[in-house]
Symmetry: D3
Subunit: 227 residues, 6 copies
């Protein structure tokens, strides 16, 4: 088995824990199973008074369990304030994220989508692209954005940037693991018909798969690919 | 129960039989159950040598059975050549479609999407809009485009017009009927993971529903609404 | 007479006083006359040194008189700093606006447009959509953005999001009241050919009306509609 | 007085007679008054059975009277079938239009908009641009598209190309002449609230003017400008 | 050396001879040098009276010489009329192109861009995508559009689909061969500053390369990629 | 010789020193040589700890030498923090930039592009347009955005606003001066294949020129033009 994109070092940037599972849990699991390194950077941490400390601790534990199930190599927490990236000087965020990515030296970089409704997602998208500027020949050869249920479909259709995928990764063999990993987020999973339900996750994977005649897929918007 | 949009006379324009079921079968069923008139116009008919006559006859029979199950009031067949609308003088097509629509006088008009890969869909989209021009106060108060599995996702993402829905119709009570109606198209239904499979239809309805916290929905792109 | 959209509880979010009159004064007046509740939330208040207190007080008085003329049910002032929303933590703005909207429980939500040149408008657009996320089945069934003369046409055509309306509300019977209400803003109305002149307001209503064969209309960009 | 754009030779391409008056009658009148040559090319002619010969003759007479009022230098009629350009081999249309334009050698070229609902407009847009390809240093230095009431606002907002103007020509001194010229088209002018009414023409000019602080303007979408 | 995309069978669809060299001559040369099969399908042939037979024969000879220099495995000529694809029934074109592609079974498919000014390019783009529909699991895993100097920059910027590349192929080692191959088209190469000059080809390659920190590159717009 | 656009007073807004040379150095040089006034406003200044004071001083000296070579009339430094405009209250930035522009009273205004990857560029774009609102008849008659190598091509193709130029200025006679001026920025010029190399600058000018059959050009996206 070969990893998708023949990537050997993958970096996934998640604004908040669980975004990375919703967006590309199946792709990560497939890559890990094929021997690739999969690194996750979680940019924010819930902080009082917006988020209770006990809840935040539980989410972190869930995150690590989910990452273990997926086969994530390494998880970095940058601990910027969740729902507060607009108050962080952008140069500070850029520096921190860039330093974390530089340590990974990924050949594949997966980021959230700029059209997501959460401002944290929009800001992280931009910060990640600042790092990925091709100012040398050594940056990631492929950068693409994943979709996040409960974020990507809820901005303004036809007005703000739309998630129109052009890359599809077959996750037929790892969809169940993705769903199992998301189920570990007991604080985050919701009953149907919520977009954060297991039913919605499975429906999205089935639809994205059917679009390319696969049983399940994750879909992405390409930012840049260098061959 | 009230019909969606409070529409009393709905016209659905289908380039080929079954597009209307894939695109808005659940909406039609819900409207019919609520007492609205639902009229379908099928624009083309398969013709030799591209299509065998026996197959075409069977599809027509399947169409009428499916329409009966949905509760369609009336079905008109315009019998233009399938996969051949590019050879029909546009003024002829416009005249025929417009005459058919004028007999219906719909307050809600449902049409295929211009970004579908099939040229017939693109041409029908334009022809329907020619009829819907607000040249008097009596035209349809709402015009919107439906999505068709195996057509809408297969043109060029990010380049040709994207189907980014902004209207969602709850079909929680009629999804099963929609699927049953599509199943009647024995010539058209495909096994998973084809986009024309029952699994893909259900996944799409579940996803569109979850986006608006409903168990199932059909999604549309609004063209024009007058209040 | 029925209100537009059959809406019974309408919420209009205005970044600054008079945006709501320019954008949807005729729609509000028609809805109010038909018995709907019309709630307005004014997000900002001019503050020294950018704005003189006496002027701000006068504008507030003009606002309330205009709202009375339109038939507004209730006006809430959130009093964030005008021309200063970029300095307000977004989570704070989101919380305040969401709380105000939750008290109203609107079935129709009218908001400014993200492509307006004023940053306050862009920020309010996003904040309102955060509230409108369909995380339950009880949110507003329709969300749409209005156009504001002197804001919407002045960003970057073809580059930033364009106001391309797809919903038109007939205001033939309430255009005069809209204009009368705007005239009450003695501090804001400008002589022709300013975009904030009565002549421009009337021209826009005539044009939007003619597009759908009505004598006057207000136009909107649909964000999301659930049926 | 200087002509707009300092143009000395202007070519206006009209799919059907009166498009050029609706789209840029005021600009043509201003240019002619300032001493520029203004050439009009009318691409199509109504033909039986779609159009009655007597009517077509009347429209042609109206066209020439309107052009005289505007100050048009020269009018060429290419006589392709109206509402039938889809049946004309594109290379034939391109050749005819290109030959007509080559005789004029315009420095400013005004064409209809590709997002207009009439297929003839879309085809003429493309044909004109084929001629305008910068294959030498002698082509028109400026090419731009005009808007046509009853055509430009009636395709599919947000889906097909939108007319978002970025060039505004002050027609404060020639709006009355434009309206008088259009009034000469007794067969084409409609009562309000039709988009082809004098009221709609005036409203559009007022709105486009107000956007740039002028009493009246015509607006255009730039295709290409070379300095 | 590995071929770009690890592709083993590449199909390039060219509306007219030399489009494939301008668009992806360097990529083809690199792939061929790395052992991949490179198949070219030339869709049209110049026909009298638009094109003289002697010229057409010369171009064909130039094409084959250029393909030999690039290392093209096989060239198919479909011989549809150049500048006349609008007169070919679309189902006929689709069938012929699809048959040719089916014989190749490419894993990488390169096509012209839908926003090119030449109608033949637009039509070929659509026809190629019809073949590439993922109706089974065996289609090309990657489809992308190339840019053609003298075609891609000459439609309507900001209005018609723009070529905004997201895939870059390093052609540092094969740019000279690409230019040498194009030079063989003695009938087609033009002196500077024509877009079909050797100077323009080199400038484009240098710019596309610099964008990704390479000395030379060809750029593409991704249509669909399946992993 | 006449200046491009017949402009007599040109204002160029640069987020950081050298943006204005990369974006429109040739246009400025041509305008200056033709007798126009050319004013540059540099919005930011590097500040410790992000930037060393010695380096900042050197860049400033390089800037003034480059401006002298180009023929710039006057350079204003606003000294906001480089890479820190997100922390500056927007009303403060707007006020400072607007005051500087009001002193110039330009008839042509050149600004960076909103789709550039650097947040400073995006913010300056918006701030400049706030000043340029047509609230009187005296504002700049033409506003357009320039492209900046190492900024404009590095955001997210197809997702964020794309630089699709529609205005081309012939700089055949001033390209060498532009390159000489950029070479003065010893701290900023990079070796090939960096986008900030002299080779990339020349390639871009050659390509933009070839698009309009000129030996060299700078390209712009029009924001608004009033005639």
């Amino acid at each position: 088995m070969t990893p998708p994109f023949n990537a050997r070092r993958i970096a996934v940037v998640a604004p908040h824990p669980d975004d990375e599972i919703l967006g590309c849990g199946g792709t990560m699991a497939r890559a890990a199973a094929a021997g690739a390194q999969v690194h996750v950077i979680v940019v924010t941490r819930g902080q009082p008074p917006l988020f209770e400390e006990a809840l935040v601790r539980q989410i972190r534990a869930e995150t690590l369990r989910a990452h273990a199930m997926i086969g994530v190599t390494d998880t970095q927490f940058l601990d910027f304030p969740a729902a507060g990236l607009d108050r962080v000087p952008r140069s500070e965020l850029n520096h921190a994220l860039s330093s974390a990515l530089a340590r990974i030296e990924p050949d594949l970089l997966l980021i959230p989508f700029i059209g997501d409704i959460h401002l944290d997602h929009q800001i992280v998208f931009n910060a990640a692209l600042v790092h990925a500027r091709p100012r040398s020949g050594n940056g990631p050869g492929c950068v693409m954005a994943y979709e996040t249920l409960s974020e990507t479909n809820w901005l303004a259709p036809g007005v703000t940037p739309a998630f129109i995928p052009n890359i599809f990764v077959d996750i037929g063999e790892t969809l169940d693991r993705k769903i199992a990993a998301f189920r570990l987020f007991q604080t985050q999973v919701k009953p149907s018909p919520d977009e954060r339900s297991l039913e919605a996750i499975r429906a999205l994977a089935t639809l994205r798969g059917a679009t390319v005649h696969r049983h399940a897929a994750e879909a992405f918007v390409l930012v840049r690919q260098i061959h």
